[in-house]
């Protein structure tokens, strides 16, 4: 179909799966971190902020190598997770998802944190005076009003996951059908003679996916904004 080989399809579907899992799995973590950074002042806050942002500024290869050291089979966290829950990251697609999640986390946290910081906190106070306990306030006021930011953060994280290359290839290598995502596949095709056509096809696919994701997010964001927009 569309002149795509079976190999291409494998890479595309794997990429989509890795990016989706990475985004969904990092969403609760990103939300919690953004909320903590936006609402609380505590010692070590700057350090936490810095740690979250590290993958954004470090060479991706360094991030990947650190993941390999800690989440690899012999790494302290990797060994523990393997033993306790049978969860293996190294040289598996789950590892690719982990790498993509870590790389996308700073973008997600930034976007969510921005909406949380721009919220009128007196709306939460108003909900409190009406009798809502803090958890209920979070679920019925804070969260719905932060939806545009949560959506924007998820899209950014998803896009980052689709394009992630350096950390992924360092951490889980480039195994067709297991860890070979679109970028790794393109890279592989460019390394072999006559691979240009394949590389170009996958490039086109990746442009289409990115565009679709952006358009979808734009439409959703507009709809949400119309709902949430307030002029007071």
């Amino acid at each position: 179909m569309m002149g795509l080989s079976e190999e291409d399809w494998t890479a595309i579907l794997l990429s989509l799966r890795v990016a989706s899992v990475a985004t969904l799995a990092s969403l609760p973590v990103g939300l919690a971190l953004a909320y903590i950074l936006a609402r609380f002042r505590f010692p070590g806050r700057t350090l936490l902020d810095g740690l979250i942002h590290l993958p954004l500024v470090m060479p991706p290869v360094v991030t990947g190598y650190l993941l390999l050291l800690s989440f690899g089979r012999k790494g302290p966290i990797g060994a523990f997770l393997d033993e306790c829950c049978g969860l293996v990251f190294s040289f598996r697609w789950t590892g690719a998802a982990l790498a993509a999640a870590v790389m996308g986390l700073p973008l997600m946290v930034r976007a969510i944190r921005l909406t949380l910081e721009s919220q009128d906190r007196r709306l939460e106070q108003a909900a409190g005076t009406l009798g809502a306990r803090p958890l209920f306030v979070f679920a019925t006021v804070t969260l719905p009003l932060a939806l545009p930011g949560i959506l924007a953060g998820s899209i950014l994280s998803f896009a980052k996951a689709l394009g992630e290359f350096g950390a992924t290839i360092t951490f889980v290598s480039n195994i067709p059908g297991e860890t070979q995502t679109i970028p790794s596949a393109i890279y592989t095709f460019t390394q072999v003679p006559g691979g240009d056509a394949n590389a170009l096809r996958l490039t086109a696919v990746s442009i289409v996916i990115s565009l679709l994701a952006l358009i979808a997010s734009e439409i959703l964001a507009r709809r949400l904004n119309r709902q949430v927009a307030s002029f007071s």
Partner: protein, 363 residues
């Protein structure tokens, strides 16, 4: 019943207030920064005092000595903010019923139907807050607070963000709340007309302290009024039953010092009426005027003339019957008329400057 006795150090003053308030509207009145809103925040649990206690209907909200500080959501208060603060992502109906999640429906009997009727918001139920006018939004905010079955209603400058027509639209609803719900209401405002019109009792605040406390006629009388701004000076007169002249569309109310003519028809037709007169709307005459358009001339004698500084002087006239009326006149006029304490004068008030807007009310 609200009992409050608290202290709190703020950046620019130390708040120390002690009072108790029952049913009806108790207005906290004073200039911006006097600590009025801080008091509401303390009652609502949005702020914690340094010392003292707050008790509402026997429930201890705050008692610093005992280490008690009830969180906001367990205080059963209705808080109406200056800018409504409706939830933008919920419909008007969902906003109104938000507090219903947390109270038993039979707790105080007020229903959604009653609230929408009381506030005239039945037609708005399916709208979004963003599509409402400022006045409508504020009415919905009041309804939302009432539906949480509060034991006390806290209103923090609920009209300050609205223009004169929106104020005019809402004030009768707040009067109805006052008259129909047996609820203590703490009402913060720095607008004297609002306070004069609505309050059963006024607590005057300055620099975090209570400086005066009592019925509006006493607290807002010219001597006690805040500041020297002549446009902020008003006098409150209590008058007898009104009569309406449909031909000229004028309302006449009786006062010991003479009858007062008001333009238009007052909404409450029975009972004594509180008339609020701005000092800048009063002219002083030594004899009863004959060839003048003014219909209201009140007899009295000069009780005091303020320090003659600048162009404008405040003359306080003790009307027949004992009430005080303040007139802002030029220093030159005082000198040329030779006004002094004890002089018999007539205070002229233009009828058109008093109407049902904010100036005359049921007592």
């Amino acid at each position: 019943m609200i009992e409050i006795d608290v202290g709190l150090a703020r950046a620019n003053f130390t708040l120390a207030v002690k009072f108790s308030a029952g049913e009806g509207i108790t207005a906290l009145f004073g200039e911006s920064g006097a600590g009025k809103s801080t008091v509401l925040h303390l009652v609502a649990g949005l702020l914690k005092p340094d010392r003292g206690r707050i008790i509402v209907n026997g429930t201890v909200f705050t008692d610093i000595a005992q280490g008690i500080f009830l969180p906001s959501h367990r205080r059963r208060i209705g808080y109406v903010f200056q800018d409504a603060l409706l939830f933008p992502h919920l419909s008007v109906r969902q906003n109104l019923t938000y507090g219903r999640w947390f109270t038993k429906p039979d707790a105080n009997g007020i229903t959604l139907a009653q609230v929408t009727e009381l506030l005239g918001i039945g037609a708005l139920l399916d709208r979004r807050p963003t599509t409402l006018s400022g006045g409508e939004r504020q009415r919905v905010a009041i309804g939302r607070a009432l539906l949480a079955s509060p034991h006390v209603l806290l209103m923090d400058e609920p009209l300050a963000a609205l223009d004169i027509d929106r104020k005019r639209e809402i004030i009768p609803y707040i009067q109805r709340l006052r008259d129909e719900l047996k609820l203590p209401i703490l009402y913060v405002s720095h607008a004297i007309e609002e306070v004069a019109r609505l309050a059963d009792r006024v607590i005057l605040m300055a620099q975090g302290q209570v400086t005066s406390d009592g019925p509006p006629q006493h607290v807002l009388s010219p001597k006690a009024g805040p500041g020297d701004d002549r446009f902020a000076r008003v006098s409150i007169l209590t008058t007898g039953h009104p009569s309406y002249d449909p031909d000229y569309q004028l309302t006449q109310v009786s006062h010991p010092a003479g009858s007062i003519t008001l333009a238009g028809r007052l909404i409450p037709q029975d009972g004594p009426i509180r008339v609020v007169i701005r000092a800048t709307d009063v002219t002083i005459a030594l004899s009863k005027p004959r060839e003048l358009s003014i219909r209201t001339a009140l007899r009295g004698k000069v009780a005091g003339v303020s320090e003659p500084l600048g162009a404008v002087v405040m003359v306080e006239v003790e009307l027949e019957g004992g009430e005080i009326l303040a007139a802002a006149v030029t220093r030159k006029a005082v000198d040329e008329l030779g006004l002094g304490e004890g002089d018999q004068v007539h205070c002229l008030v233009k009828s058109v400057s008093i109407d049902d807007r904010l100036m005359a009310i049921k007592d």
